[in-house]
Amino acid sequence: MDIVAKFAARLILLIFVGGLLAATLARTSPGYGVDEEELDARLKAESIQALRTVQAKAPDAVTFYCRYMSRLIRGDLGVSIALHEPIRKLIAERSPETLKSVGLALILGWMTGLGLAAASVMTRSAWMDTGASLLAAAVLCIPVAVLALFCAMTRTPGRLVIAVVVFPKVFKYARTILVRSFDLPHVLMARAKGLGPGRILLRHILPVAAPQLLALAAISVSIAITAAIPVESLCDIPGIGQLAWKAALSRDLELLVILTMIVTCITLLANCSAELLSGRRQGVNA
């Protein structure tokens, strides 16, 4: 109970700080408070002045954030200036798309990454290992925009690009972690006793490598969410990532703050879950 309360308190504090920092970064960045409409040659001086007056009245980051939080507590997320829709509605409509994309990416990325890493380690085949490494290197080097265009050309779902982004990182780290565990004395003993590779992997390697793999799993959530931003924008997937990109380009402060809070929350939940699980596993082993 104590742990849960501490975790909850930490989560709330960090979400709050994350939102404030995002507001500060966006509010103080160049281009905030300017409107492309000012360049419209039809607008007279009074209209341009009116536009600038509205923008000049924008509060500083801290004031904005305090007002924003007081509205947030009442459930009012505000209206997006990028899409002119209530933010609550936008997030509700778009979250399922991103959850689908990120979820699929993580499953596929891990299946491929961990699968190839395990295969490299367990078979101890140079060709298998080199082939998998080359594949990971190739995929790592291809820009997301090229992958997105490739998906568009082959009518492949664009969300697979996120899986392609996740896979090489999972592969590389997982391979490193598994290789080290493979050389531990108890694994050598298990191999000497003639245990099959599957059993060695599941019973003797993975449990030992669990804390690092759990940490990697948590980080891969962050990688997937970060990758979702350009992928959804390029592939026109109407998810949170596309929303984040539009919000950044139009300096939509209210949207940026809430999206940062969501991402912070997901990142924290993923990482804290990983910590809890690895802590519990250590407790069991002790």
Binding site: G31, A41, K44
Partner: protein, 544 residues
């Protein structure tokens, strides 16, 4: 061999897609892309391209500028007259017309629209175009279908401005969503697509008495990536692309020539200007360079405009020379010629100002190496290429040019607020034929006088002269006098080069062969300006 096979496959897939797969998207639905979500559905507040698209497709206007002939044609107004002084315009309205929700249309709706449009608190770009002076705009309803709109001062090109004014209903509970145009907004999935359906009450019929439009619905997909947009056209998923780059045009032309259209030079231009704001955070010697006409003329002479048109735009552009494009036949000053590329002349101009070339480096009279930065917006490949070419051109006369691409909000902040820049490369998107629409660019006191805005009094004699000429042309209805004034403005701009005009781009578009009655124009919207007359060839065959 592999390359030829690749190209053949591409061409084959394109043909197959266009012949077999159209219309993939259901019965009689037109499909094309817009680059972003429209910011508003209120036609009076339209300021961005996607919103303008929706306004054009849904809004009913009193008069329409025929994009092909560039002549005004009656729409909701059957006729109109402007009084002798240009203060007032009287419209005779079409009778028995209804909004999309069935509400009847009459003079009260026009009065209501004008009242809202001219509300000073609305700050509508469309409304501002009518504002030639302070004072109230009044409307007089002379009958159910007759109205006179009176302005406090003459408004030049008055009738043409009504092409942008979509009439709102004064009585409909649906407010701006009740429309008089050929389509109405049925569905809006923010950030994804819009669906427009044919207006069941649309007043227009064809010669055979069939109600227009021919096409039942329009789906506007929000697609930012232009490469994916092109791919979708090739696959037959969309029916046209309103604006192509030169490279895309050439690629389509080589594989499917019937799809790509070059309507000729457009009204748009690309130009560079130097920061001449006295308070700009620049060293004094640089301010002196930028303020010097000879320096600007030298830079202009050193730029190879033909190369820009040929290399960057693949020949689908031509060197520009002044504020009016040659596409604007009446207003263009045909006596002027683009500045020729001449690096020797450039060095001569510079020598007159005390510059000298030493070991390939140009220095001013104070010994400062001539180096400055050129900012432009990132993501526009054509501008990035132009900047790189200009960098080489200026390098040939010893000028070091640093190209900096910035995201658009940062760029706008520099050119409108902080003035922390040296030179800027941007384009001018021009939808208006009448040069009066450029008043806020050429008046020295205006905000859009980019190189030195908001001057309390003109900084130079030539800017004072331009002020005088622009005001003069705005105060008379005599076209001959206006033409003389505008011709003189073009000459001054040509001589002084506050904007170094680079190219006028061509209007390039791509249209599926299945779409009938398309006549791409240079004025926006290039392809669908006659939307109610467009139809699918398969539909025509089916109806025969």
């Amino acid at each position: 061999m592999g390359l030829r096979r690749h190209r053949f496959c591409f061409a084959l897939s394109l043909l197959l897609a266009t012949v077999l797969c159209s219309p993939l998207h259901g019965q009689n639905q037109l499909r094309f892309c817009i680059g972003a979500q429209p910011t508003t559905f209120d036609p009076l507040l339209v300021a961005d391209g996607p919103s303008e698209t929706v306004r054009y497709l849904t809004g009913g206007v009193l008069v329409r500028l025929d994009r092909s002939s560039q002549q005004l044609v009656p729409e909701l107004a059957t006729s109109w007259t402007i009084n002798r002084t240009g203060h007032a315009i009287t419209f005779e309205l079409r009778q028995n017309v209804r909004f999309s929700d069935g509400t009847p249309f009459d003079a009260r709706d026009v009065a209501y629209t004008m009242e809202r449009l001219m509300d000073p608190n609305l700050h509508s770009p469309t409304g501002d175009a009518f504002r030639s002076s302070d004072g109230k705009v009044t409307t007089t309803i002379d009958g159910e279908y007759r109205i006179t709109i009176t302005f406090p001062a003459p408004v030049v090109g008055l009738d043409q401005l009504f092409d942008q004014v979509a009439i709102l209903s004064a009585r409909s509970p649906r407010k701006e969503m009740a429309v008089l145009g050929p389509y109405y907004v049925e569905e809006n999935k923010a950030g994804s697509y819009l669906l427009l359906k044919r207006n069941p009450s649309y007043w227009k019929h064809d010669a055979a008495g069939r109600q227009l439009p021919y096409i039942d619905s329009i789906r506007l997909d929000i697609q930012q990536n232009r490469d994916v947009e092109l791919l979708r056209l090739v696959r037959g998923e969309i029916d046209f692309i309103n604006s192509l780059t030169g490279q895309q045009f050439d690629q389509l032309k080589s594989t499917a020539p019937q799809v790509a259209f070059d309507a000729g030079v457009s009204l748009d231009s690309e130009q560079i200007w130097f920061n001449q704001v006295p308070a700009a955070p620049l060293p004094g010697y640089k301010k002196a360079w930028f303020a010097s006409t000879r320096f600007r003329r030298a830079v202009s002479s050193a730029i190879h405009r033909d190369d820009l048109a040929r290399v960057v735009f693949h020949g689908h552009a031509q060197p520009a020379l002044s504020l009016i494009s040659p596409a604007n036949k009446f207003w263009f000053n045909a006596r002027l010629q683009p500045h020729a590329y001449d690096s020797k002349a450039a060095l001569q101009w510079l020598a007159q100002d005390g510059f000298r070339l030493e070991n390939g480096v140009l220095r001013d009279s104070g010994g400062h190496e001539v180096e400055f930065s050129l900012i432009t917006n990132a993501g526009n490949k054509e501008r990035e290429l132009m900047a790189a070419m200009i960098q080489q051109d200026l390098g040939a006369i010893g000028i070091r040019l640093n190209v900096v691409t910035l995201d658009f909000p940062s760029l706008i902040e520099r050119i409108t607020r902080s003035f922390n820049y040296e030179a800027c490369l941007l384009g001018f998107v021009n939808d208006e034929l009448d040069p009066n629409a450029q008043m806020t660019v050429w008046l020295s006191s205006a905000d859009n006088h980019q190189w030195n805005p908001n001057q309390k009094s003109p900084a130079t004699a030539w800017e004072a002269e331009i002020d005088r000429l622009m005001r003069e042309q705005a105060s008379t209805l005599d076209l001959k006098k206006r033409k003389q004034a505008i011709d003189r403005v073009q000459e001054i701009v040509w001589e002084q080069e506050p904007f170094i005009y680079l190219v006028n781009k061509h209007a390039l578009s791509a249209v599926s062969p299945n779409l009938h009655n398309v006549h791409p124009a240079v004025l926006r919207p290039q392809v669908y300006w006659n939307i109610e007359e467009l139809s699918f060839a398969t539909e025509i065959a089916r109806n025969r």
